[in-house]
Amino acid sequence: MSLLEIRNLDVRHGLLQAVRGVDLSVEKGETIALVGANGAGKTTLLRAIAGAHLPAGGNVRFGGTDITLVPSHSRVGLGIALVPEGRRLFSQMTVEENLILARSAGRKGPWTLDRVFEAFPNLVPRRKAKAGNLSGGEQQATAIGRALMTNPEILLLDEVSLGLSPLAVDRVYASLDTLIHGGTTIVLVEQDLRRAMRVADRIVCMLEGKIVLEGKRGEITREQVSEAYFGLGIAKGRLSA
């Protein structure tokens, strides 16, 4: 049984249907990268998994139970942690305080303050610094650390590299590697195809709300993903949407 199973999911923003009939399963320990152009529905799909956006149709099963209509605040307690786009920290609180706050989710597990600082060593000297005064990369690390502090079964990462310098992105990904090899289940949205293909076990490419290409790393080529990304395959009639 998969950890997360999405069946025929429809998500709407009013009249706009952002996710159309998506099926996706995530196995425990797997890292999945959602790629696709702007407006393809990646973030909406992620937010639907986190419960921030309730779907119009279809269902989401997590660990065997149907959570389609479970509100987002209860999903954190079930073990679904979303790192929202744009980091979203409590800027007046310190790094440590931001991390400690996540304990309020009330989930016991292996993640403690010390382990987070182990995974993100660049945060150690910034422990007492206000989150608002950190660099973008440090803020991203804090946001991921805060999500880990809820001891999630699955970690949802939205656009981790957005607005960061290439160097900062390298650092964030270096620490993500630790998590990926440590067996954390991750679904990440990434614009940068090269990075996505390097870290993920499986690539899921979305276009106009649908999954148009899905494959294990090494089984699909960058060219195939690029074609799906821009919908070129459809024009040539090679991909069935």
């Binding site: 929202p84 979203r88 409590f90 609180m93």
Partner: protein, 354 residues
């Protein structure tokens, strides 16, 4: 949060115990007011209690919830209107006042479901639109006779002295109830949740805070307070003219009291109401210059003392009269969970006032 054995979390301090006791004594003394004061003094104090209700509930909404509304006069006016209607239907006049506030709180629930989808400035202006709409709708009622208005005739049942005393007691009781409810609310999980939402809605949501439900609680509470204040005001003014009750000046007063007293501090709103009351008593007769003075003072405070008089005192002297927040004691750091900062609305500290 007390998993770490080296950290001790404290809520009640000696200072806060004394403050609560002092507040209880002051309220008890005030309760005997009508036996000693003349009608004029009683009326003045009644006005002060209403101001405290207005300031404290607006502060709950804007200072703690980050929901800045310039349309609270909607509920102020509706509260008075509902009281007129209930009294006209034959209900006891003082029961009408309280019941009116309860009804308007219920009315605010469906309003909240679409208003709370708005954020920041849109919410503020949206609330003003709601207030104007309520004003127009109330004008349609033939009992109100448009802008001519009507009076709370049922108050005739009481002679003047009894009426003044009853107004005073009902206002004092209402104020005490509002203060106690808010105190309990802010000390609870909801208090921490609403401040987390104020500081960063998405971050709060990603930690498992129920965003919409929490905002709704604080919104309905603020509506209840404004409606109660409106109904109480009606009992002292007797006449109900829609224009005076649905005027934006009510919200302007609330903003003034909270900004000067201390946005996002429990004690500050009360202090602000007291200051506003004194300014009005001393300078209220000087017409336009009084209003200009109010505006200028609010401006100066928002620019230079953004956390108001209480916020400044709290920071300067480490005051904390009411035990709303948490103090973290001992290792690893002796610092408190949050540090007051001079950000404006929305940049205030999280977790609670110390």
């Amino acid at each position: 949060m007390s998993q770490d054995p080296t950290v001790r979390v404290e809520r009640w301090t000696l200072q806060s115990r004394i403050s609560i006791l002092a507040a209880a004594i002051i309220l008890a003394i005030l309760a005997t007011g009508p036996f000693f004061f003349g009608n004029n003094a009683i009326d003045k104090l009644t006005t002060l209690f209403i101001y405290v209700i207005l300031a404290v509930t607006w502060n709950a909404l804007a200072g703690y919830g980050g929901l800045v509304s310039v349309g609270q006069q909607a509920f102020f006016g509706l509260g008075a209107y509902a009281a007129v209607r209930l009294a006209d239907a034959g209900l006891n006049v003082y029961v009408s006042l309280v019941l009116a506030a309860v009804i308007i709180a219920a009315v605010s629930l469906p309003i909240s479901s679409f208003m709370l989808r708005l954020r920041g400035g849109e919410f503020a202006i949206g609330m003003w639109v709601v207030a104007e709409l309520c004003h127009l709708l109330v004008n349609l009622d033939s009992l109100v006779q448009g802008e001519t208005g009507t009076s709370l005739i049922a108050l005739n049942a009481y002679d003047a002295d009894t009426r003044h005393a009853l107004n005073y007691w009902v206002a004092l009781g209402s104020m005490t109830a509002i203060l106690v409810i808010l105190f309990v609310l802010l000390r609870s999980r909801i208090g921490s949740a609403i401040q987390a939402i104020r500081d960063n809605e998405e971050a709060a949501a990603s930690l498992g805070v129920r965003v919409m439900g929490t905002k709704r609680i604080i919104y309905v509470f603020a509506a209840f307070g404004a409606a109660l204040a409106g109904a109480l005001w009606l009992s002292t003014a007797i006449t109900f003219q829609p224009k005076t009750y649905f005027g934006v000046q009510w919200t302007a007063y609330m903003i003034f009291m909270v900004l000067v007293g201390g946005l996002g501090t429990f004690e500050g709103a009360i202090l602000g109401a007291l200051i506003f009351f004194l300014i009005e008593t001393w300078f209220g007769g000087s017409g336009v210059w009084y209003l200009i003075g109010l505006g200028a003072t609010a401006l100066v405070f928002s620019l230079f003392v953004p956390r108001g008089i209480w916020g400044w005192l709290e920071r300067r002297f480490g005051l904390g009269l009411l035990p709303l927040g948490y103090r973290i004691l001992g290792v690893p750091s002796a610092t408190r969970m949050q540090t007051p900062d001079d950000g404006g609305i929305g940049a205030a500290p999280s977790v609670g006032t110390p």
